[in-house]
């Protein structure tokens, strides 16, 4: 067994609402191997999305730590966490979360602009453009490059979101119910795409889902119950 690419050690997360403290994660230990496809199952309110946000460095843990490879990353300063998130972690959300003013191609290219200055980016503009077009081609949207999100179907939007998650060549993709907002046939094609990418790119996937059938197709299933991982 190789070293985990992403792991959580004793992670807790407590939210404060007024004077009340609401524990969501209660000491989660979790590991993902490179290229592994992991399904995170759990009832609503079990803390699946919270764990995903903590692992993706969007939300700091209250206690415990998140490691990327052998480095503790949850306590890094904000800019360093942002840089790591950009370079190593991709997100796919249930509601796509595309920028409505941008076309499909621009939404994907936006991911190439995060750690370059405007002049440096312009210098490599053609390469970025080619990369983004190739990704949209790979997810089957060659004909939809100049369409804005409101001109695309749900499945097409999710494919744009997947292309955007891939553009920075991450080693981990965290997908929060990526088919939760799609009909069954569209879901199937999107899932096929994700599994195909996983097989071809050796990218580790953490899929948050309620779907036992989908979970069964993954390499491993992790169940979260009341903020704790079921043994």
């Amino acid at each position: 067994m190789t070293d985990p690419i992403l792991s959580a050690e004793g992670v807790t997360k407590t939210y404060r609402v007024g004077k009340r403290e609401i524990p969501v994660l209660r000491g989660v230990d979790f590991e993902m191997q490179p290229g592994e496809m992991v399904a995170l199952l759990g009832a609503s309110g079990a803390g699946k999305s919270t764990l995903l946000h903590v692992l993706g460095l969007l939300d700091p843990p209250t206690e415990g730590r998140v490691r990327f490879e052998d480095q503790s990353v949850s306590d890094l300063p904000g800019p360093k966490r942002a840089k790591l998130r950009h370079r190593e972690i991709g997100f796919v959300f249930q509601f796509y979360h595309l920028i409505p003013e941008l076309t499909a191609l621009q939404n994907v290219k936006l991911g190439t602009m995060m750690d370059q200055g405007p002049l440096a980016w312009l210098g490599e503009r053609k390469q970025h453009d080619q990369d983004a077009r190739a990704l949209l081609d790979r997810v089957g949207l060659t004909e939809r490059l100049t369409h804005r999100p409101d001109e695309l179907s749900g499945g097409e939007r999710q494919r744009v979101a997947i292309a955007r998650a891939l553009v920075a060549n991450p080693r981990v993709i965290l997908a929060d119910e990526p088919t939760g907002n799609l009909d069954s046939s569209t879901s199937e094609s999107v899932l096929e795409l994700l599994f195909e990418i996983n097989r071809e790119s050796n990218i580790a996937f953490l899929l948050v889902t309620h779907d036992e059938g989908l979970a069964a197709r993954c390499d491993r299933i992790v169940r979260l119950r009341d903020g704790v991982i079921d043994a």
């Binding site: 942002a82 998130r85 979360h97 621009q106 936006l110």
Partner: protein, 486 residues
């Protein structure tokens, strides 16, 4: 931290996709435009008023002299100053006048002087020594002033300026002979009033005016006696100094006439050449205040005050400058409104884009990068607004007269008259600057580069601050909360 490419890219997209940004830019442009144009017009007026005031006042004026002060006692001291070029004695005395031949309705027949009768007007007689005054003040300009009633058309030239005396002074100069002041005593006493005064009194050259006054006769120091004075003068010409006080209150006569009225007839033995003031012209480039203080010291501080032309008109000029300061303050409020507009526009944009902020965070954008997106939007709106406002403001200020003449009085008036005609109303003439009100033939504007720079830079700084606040708010959103924001 250097700005990332996505900040510029996204800011540009947000700017181009939201028309409300044009509103913010227009607000800033309008504020900058107003600050530049209004101050340019105000400065133009102030400059014109100061020019007129300076022209209507001598460089220095020795005043607050004791009654019965002799010019001779001051002359040598004043002339001794190295910066004094010319001096002229003046004698002021208050009086009333009414045009002879016009009905005078007495209200109280028992009055020793018929001053309560309707038709009298108050006037301050300013006695001058024509020859000396020509060297000392802008008298020549006042007399030769040719006022314009309308653009480009000179409708009235002053005739017979300073009556007979000035003609005689000029004739003597032309013949290179010394001017004999006793010539003035052989001609009828003439008086000059301003063109406006002549118009309001409905009098013209050749009109006889009865001038009535009184003075305290101190020939017997034990019992000074109030004496009536009456004398008929002939209106022999008109002037226009541009100085409102001079034009509205003064009537110019020869100084010997006033001296005679006050009991100092030059032909009487023992009479003195009394003066109330002495006008002084100083060497160009000399510091007026320094010369004034030096002369006060030389004359003796308790003898007289020596006032520069600014000090002579201090209250009036202070009021004018205060008006400009107040106007700037009011316009500054307009600038603040523009800043609020930017703030509101950017705040609204941030509120609408909270989800985008979460998306950017998930994609690896730093807080600074997110902040820069909105800061670039606000700064771009501010810069474009400032540049647009400053450019249009300068052009408007420079061409305001042409805009008024050709657009407002021309095209716009024609359009308005078409509509007025539809409702049976008579034609009108629109103008942002009625020239007859100010006796100026152009709208005076002064575009001060320093003020334009201050306004532009100031407005820019304010808009940056107004944009920075919402941008900072954008950077403070927690990514997870932003992603879930509806």
């Amino acid at each position: 931290m250097a700005t990332r490419a996505f900040s510029w890219f996204l800011a540009l997209r947000y700017l181009l996709s939201r028309w409300v940004n044009v509103l913010g830019m227009g607000g800033v442009a309008l504020a900058v435009w107003a600050l530049i144009v209004v101050v340019a017009v105000f400065s133009g007026f102030i400059s014109g008023i100061e020019d007129n005031t300076k022209s209507g006042s001598p460089d220095l004026l020795v005043t607050s002299l004791a009654p019965e002060t002799s010019f001779e006692s001051l002359e040598a001291t004043i002339r001794a100053d190295e910066d004094v070029v010319a001096i002229a004695p003046r004698l002021r005395h208050h009086a009333l006048y009414f045009p002879i031949g016009r009905g005078l309705r007495k209200i109280a027949a028992t009055d020793p002087l018929p001053i309560s009768g309707l038709g009298f007007e108050f006037v301050e007689l300013l006695g001058i020594d024509t020859e000396a005054e020509l060297e000392t003040s802008d008298l020549s300009l006042w007399l030769d002033a040719i006022p314009n009633d309308d653009y480009g058309s000179r409708v009235e030239a002053t005739e017979n300026p300073l009556s007979i005396s000035i003609e005689r002074v000029r004739a003597a100069r032309a013949q290179a002979r010394p001017f004999d002041r006793t010539e003035l005593l052989r001609v009828p006493p003439g008086v000059l009033v301003s063109r406006d005064r002549a118009r309001s009194s409905r009098i013209d050259t050749g009109q006889e005016l009865e001038i009535v006054s009184a003075h305290l006769d101190r020939s017997d120091p034990e019992s000074p006696e109030m004496r009536k004075i009456r004398r008929v003068f002939v209106l022999t010409g008109k002037f226009e100094s541009g100085h409102r006080v001079v034009d509205h209150t003064m009537a110019i006569v020869d100084i010997e006439q006033v001296r005679t009225l006050l009991g100092h007839d030059a032909s009487d033995p023992g009479s003195i050449d009394i003066v109330s003031d002495v006008a002084i012209r100083v060497r160009p480039g000399a510091d007026l205040k320094t010369v004034a203080r030096r002369l006060e010291k030389a004359l003796g501080n308790d003898v007289a005050n020596v006032l520069t032309w600014r000090e002579q008109n201090k209250t009036f000029l202070d009021v004018v400058h205060q008006e400009r300061r107040m106007m700037k303050l009011i316009l500054f409020a307009v600038g603040l409104v523009a800043a609020f507009l930017i703030y509101a526009t950017m705040h609204m944009m941030v509120t609408q884009k909270v989800k985008d902020i979460g998306i950017l965070s998930a994609m690896g954008a730093s807080r600074d990068g997110t902040k820069h997106v909105f800061l670039i939007c606000g700064v771009t709106v501010g810069v474009l607004g400032c540049v647009l406002g400053a450019t249009i403001g300068c052009l408007t200020s420079i061409y305001l007269d042409e805009i008024n003449r050709y657009f407002i009085r021309g095209t716009l008036t024609d359009i308005v008259n078409v509509f007025r005609g539809m409702f049976g109303l008579p034609d009108t003439v629109l103008s942002i600057f009625p020239p007859q009100l100010y006796a100026l033939d152009r709208i005076p504007t002064v575009v001060d580069p320093t003020w334009v720079s201050q306004v532009t830079i100031g407005a820019f700084a304010v808009t940056i601050f107004a944009a920075w606040l919402p941008a900072r708010r954008a950077a403070r959103f927690e990514p997870v909360r932003a992603l879930g924001y509806e």
